[in-house]
């Protein structure tokens, strides 16, 4: 496992983003910090009504980014 799997960096659209894994109770939320001026983003995994899992932004409105970055986070954990 990465020595700090709660704070790490990823490449997203040719730029570095900082990822913080946070907990609220035992819910897990990933906070994304962009190097450019884009607003920080919080994403989490949610459950579709058909029981499949998907990434979503918290609050709503940035679903595409949530899905794209969520996939990168999954790959990061699979590599470790």
């Amino acid at each position: 496992m990465n020595p700090d799997s709660n704070n790490f960096e990823l490449y997203y659209k040719d730029e570095i983003i900082k990822v913080q894994r946070n907990s609220i109770g035992s819910e897990t939320i990933f906070r994304i910090i962009f190097i450019n001026s884009r607003a920080p983003l919080a994403i989490t995994r949610a459950t579709h009504e058909n029981a499949s899992r998907f990434w979503t932004s918290i609050p709503e409105g940035r679903q595409r980014e949530a899905e794209e970055i969520g996939r990168l986070i999954e790959e990061f954990y699979k590599k470790d």
Partner: protein, 269 residues
């Protein structure tokens, strides 16, 4: 059905996500980093507003710091153990949990907090280890070293619940750092938790909504504090599932994982 970010979700999931929104907003307002962790991490806690029947959701550090510790160095020594000036080893003192039978004992570090600073620790579930002693095939006797299996315990039909907590403000005398810390109150294990947490036979004091209200806002005497602290959430309203042994490093720590060699829990409790 409802929609969240264009995705079809159940009512329960919609409410869960909306609650997360509120909490994320609170944390952004607090402008503090959040760290996941199972020891000494920051957790969401409901803290009463002074003299009002209202509360704030704040982050507190899990691991009650007694008032007599002056610096973070002293805190680290307490938590990790150390050798004193004579070279004698002083073992760690763990203050993550406060045993309900002792919270009001005179001279104990928790007494003032139990009387004046009770709080509710917000949780969606918690982790405990079950110990199974394999049998020696030659002698038929149990081995001395247990196999440990982690469980994730939740409440049926409740996305969130409250654990009884007590909190303590603390300031580092060297740096001026101010932090609020807490301990989760524990009680005797109910029939389900007796099987899961079978080494210590304890469980967090989980409060239903009425008891949570009374714990946070009630003008209650010592007898009632102890009664609530010792209350057991019904086993029939809880569920426990096994999870992966490396759950601390997993993307989804609470994801169910089956062990073929593990005897099933007795669920008719």
């Amino acid at each position: 059905m409802c929609y969240y970010n264009g995705q079809k979700v159940t009512h329960a999931e919609f409410i869960r996500l909306k609650q997360l929104e509120k909490m994320v907003a609170q944390y952004d307002f607090l402008a503090r980093d959040l760290q996941i962790g199972f020891d000494y991490s920051l957790n969401a806690v409901l803290k009463r507003q002074p003299d009002e029947e209202d509360f704030d959701i704040v982050q507190m550090e899990w691991g009650f710091i007694p008032h007599y510790l002056r610096t973070r160095d002293e805190v680290a020594k307490m938590r990790n153990g150390y050798k004193d000036a004579s070279g004698n080893y002083r073992p760690p003192i763990i203050t993550l949990n406060a045993v309900c039978e002792e919270i009001l004992a005179p001279g104990k570090i928790y007494r003032e907090a139990a009387l004046k600073r009770r709080c509710l620790v917000l949780s969606t579930g918690f982790f405990e280890w079950r110990h199974i002693y394999p049998v020696n095939k030659r002698t038929g006797l149990p081995l001395k070293t247990a196999n440990r299996y982690p469980y994730y315990i939740t409440l049926k039909d409740k996305g969130y619940f409250y654990m009884a907590g007590i909190w303590q403000p603390w300031t580092d005398k060297a740096t001026g750092e101010y932090v609020e810390t807490f301990a989760v109150v524990t009680t005797k294990a109910n029939p389900l938790m007796l099987q899961v947490h079978n080494s210590k036979k304890r469980m967090p004091t989980i409060l239903n909504e009425d008891l949570a209200y009374e714990w946070l806002f009630g003008d209650i005497d010592e007898k009632r504090i102890l009664e609530i602290a010792a209350s057991q959430y019904p086993a029939s309203e809880m569920k426990a599932c096994t999870i992966a042994k490396d759950f601390r490093e997993a993307l989804e720590p609470a994801k169910e994982f089956q062990y073929e060699d593990l005897p099933a829990l007795e669920l008719n409790v």
